[in-house]
């Protein structure tokens, strides 16, 4: 595909057609986040594309080596603003593996609940952004307003709306406040009742179908070859989910299905997010039903003096965008020796841009990016 459009660029140059650059981000309304693609255009179509990254690069992994173990908890959620909790859970999971800790059952369930709530906030933004990219701003506003209800719950539980810093090595920071559980039950009923509205205004809209169908098709083989994970992988028909394949938190005690789609295009990815949203509601309800009594963390002493024994571990968590993996090496000190993060946005945003963007019209770039759920800070780190 790339060669084909390189040829077209040459033909265009030969014929005197002008090839021009468009900076699709960071300063572009179709781009969310401080990130972008520079696209060579011929008329309305893209001839070549390259990633314009680095604008959000903060050197997360290097900074983590200079921080205390607990200090990093306030840094890692920033790797994915929209869905921050999986980063916390993966980081804490790796530390707990090195320490050989088994966190209390109640903590496992609370982690599961907050991880799924975080997935819901991300999916609401993802579904809304499909509306935003196609000009259907009503969907975007409605979904962001609904998302605020979840952020209220997070604020009540953790004190933070976006960055929760709730997971700690050994469990979670505090127990559920009084009345929080009942309120969350009510909220799940609310979201279930909203699904019909989402379907009517977004998922059954014929223009949305027309816009999404056939955009950015990935086959199952390509997805596996390029390391695509999460909904982007499942939209190609591969039934793989870290929550089932390598269970963590309380997922092994819950019953849920893994939705898949076959086509691998933007429409399949959008529909999959809708299906996963429904599954998430069911997971949260089950976790709330089965929530055991007991402690929510293991007391590990003064966080300023907290040490992790020598060792290394890899922990992974299924986020709304795909698999987050944390590889941590400890030398037994008060700071990590090495923290390496494997996020889902790099393969999707880097490899697929060379595969999909050449030949695509400028009309579809924002949609393509939104349905792939490329998270700019995760890409740049």
């Amino acid at each position: 595909m790339i060669d084909l459009f390189t040829d077209i660029t040459e033909i265009a140059n030969k014929d005197g057609n002008k090839v021009y650059d468009i900076f699709f981000g960071p300063n572009h309304p179709g781009m969310h986040g401080n990130f972008g693609y520079v696209v060579d255009m011929i008329g309305h179509s893209i001839a070549k594309a390259r990633v314009n990254a680095g604008l959000l690069h903060r050197g997360f992994e290097k900074i983590m080596e200079t921080n205390l173990w607990h200090q990093n908890l306030s840094l890692i959620p920033r790797i994915c603003v929209v869905d921050p909790d999986p980063n916390e859970a993966a980081y804490c999971g790796a530390i707990e593996k090195i320490m050989g800790l088994e966190i209390p059952e109640r903590a496992k369930f609370i982690r599961t609940i907050t991880l799924e709530m975080s997935r819901m906030t991300s999916h609401l933004m993802g579904m809304g952004s499909v509306g935003g990219a196609t000009g259907l701003y009503t969907v975007m506003y409605l979904m962001l307003a609904d998302r605020d209800r979840l952020l209220d719950m997070f604020e009540w539980l953790t004190g933070g709306r976006i960055y929760h810093i709730y997971n700690i090595p050994g469990g979670v920071r505090r127990d559920l406040p009084k009345g929080w559980r009942d309120k969350l039950y009510g909220l799940m009923d609310f979201f279930e009742s909203k699904l019909k509205e989402y379907d009517e205004i977004l998922y059954r809209h014929p223009i949305i179908h027309k816009r999404l169908k056939g955009v950015g098709v990935i086959t199952a083989d390509q997805a596996k070859k390029w390391g695509i994970t999460g909904p982007n992988l499942r939209a190609t028909g591969v039934k793989f989910d870290t929550r089932k394949a390598y269970p963590y938190a309380a997922y092994d005690q819950l019953e849920f299905d893994i939705p898949t789609e076959k086509e691998g295009d933007a429409l399949a990815r959008a529909n999959l997010v809708r299906a996963e949203f429904e599954v998430t509601i069911s997971i949260i309800r089950q976790a709330l039903d089965k929530l055991p009594e007991g402690d929510v963390n293991i007391k590990l002493g003064n966080p300023l003096k907290f040490k992790v024994p020598e060792g290394e571990a890899y922990a992974k968590v299924e986020s709304s965008k795909g698999e987050y993996g944390y590889y941590i090496v400890s030398t037994g000190g008060i700071k990590p020796y090495r923290v390496s993060v494997r996020g889902p946005s790099l393969p999707a945003g880097l490899f697929l841009c060379h595969k999909h963007l050449p030949g695509m019209r400028i009309d579809d770039v924002a949609l393509w990016m939104n349905t792939l759920q490329i998270c700019a800070p995760d890409f740049d780190r």
């Binding site: 468009i22 309304p29 223009i207 816009r211 009309d363």
Partner: protein
């Protein structure tokens, strides 16, 4: 002034659909005054000329559109002259923003001109229907033919033509699903991308003038004009409200799909309406 007021009220209606409060109805006036008072960055003298040509073309169009049967001078509201002058306005905008040098602007202009090719055909068919019925291309006379109450209005007599015209006017106003020329998430607001200060202020006035005369044409064609300026403006606002409500629940077509839709659905509706009228 009326166009700016409509935009302000339209923003509140859209906000209510989206469960927001929205800006105050006079926000558009504040914005235009603020922008006109600002210094402007311009890239070429053609940009200035194009902006003035666009506004001039649209104002020239506006003075030929009868409001409740009234015109600044007795031109009778010649519909073909109105369409011709309106095109000058759009071409002025195309010329001005293309000189800005930003590639998104000509992309938007290309889409606007493609869309214009689309909606002019069904709109011309609608006009042919009314001209053949009234024997005149004067908007004043077309409106005068509808006197005698609600049942005499063309919206009642020719409902299919009205639906076709509504779709066409939706495209003329660049409201969704036909806002390809602006499309912020695709071409960064297209023609508006490089406009700032006075240029953007003039652009907002152009938009207001366009809304004013497009809704006025609809009121004259289908709603019997108006007994006075107040009822006329109220009917105009009704037309604009329909456009805004459709806009708030529709995503955007791709340009080729938009043109294909306009060339099929409204054109088919008007042809059916013509067959009903002429074969009866």
């Amino acid at each position: 002034m009326v166009g700016l007021l409509f935009i302000g009220l339209g923003r509140i209606i859209t906000a209510r659909v989206q469960r927001r409060i929205g800006p105050p109805f006079y926000q558009q006036f504040i914005d235009v005054i603020k922008l006109l008072a600002r210094e402007s960055i311009w890239h070429h003298w053609i940009m200035t000329l194009g902006s003035i040509m666009a506004l001039g073309g649209l104002i020239a169009t506006m003075v030929h559109v009868p409001v409740a049967g009234w015109l600044p001078y007795d031109s009778g509201g010649p519909i073909f002259l109105i369409l011709y002058l309106a095109t000058i306005g759009y071409l002025g905008m195309a010329m001005g923003v293309s000189a800005s040098g930003n590639p998104n602007a000509p992309l938007g202009i290309g889409r606007a001109l493609s869309l214009m090719l689309g909606y002019e055909i069904p709109f011309a068919a609608i006009l042919i229907l009314f001209i053949s019925l009234t024997g005149s291309s004067s908007l004043t006379e077309i409106a005068a033919m509808q006197t005698g109450g609600f049942l005499s209005w063309n919206i009642v007599k020719f409902p299919l033509a009205f639906i076709a015209a509504e779709i066409t006017v939706q495209a003329m106003m660049a409201e969704k699903p036909f806002d390809q020329m602006i499309a912020p998430s695709e071409i960064a607001s297209g023609p508006l991308v490089e406009l700032g200060g006075k240029f953007l202020g003039l652009g907002m006035i152009q938009m207001a003038v366009a809304i004013y005369f497009e809704t006025a044409i609809m009121v004259n064609l289908f709603f019997g004009g108006g007994a006075n300026i107040f009822t006329f403006t109220l009917k105009q606002f009704g037309v604009y409200t329909i456009a805004i409500l459709i806009n708030s629940v529709m995503p955007r077509y791709k340009i080729e799909n938009a043109v294909r839709y306009i060339w099929t659905v409204p054109l088919a509706l008007i042809i059916i309406q013509m067959l009903i009228v002429f074969l009866r």
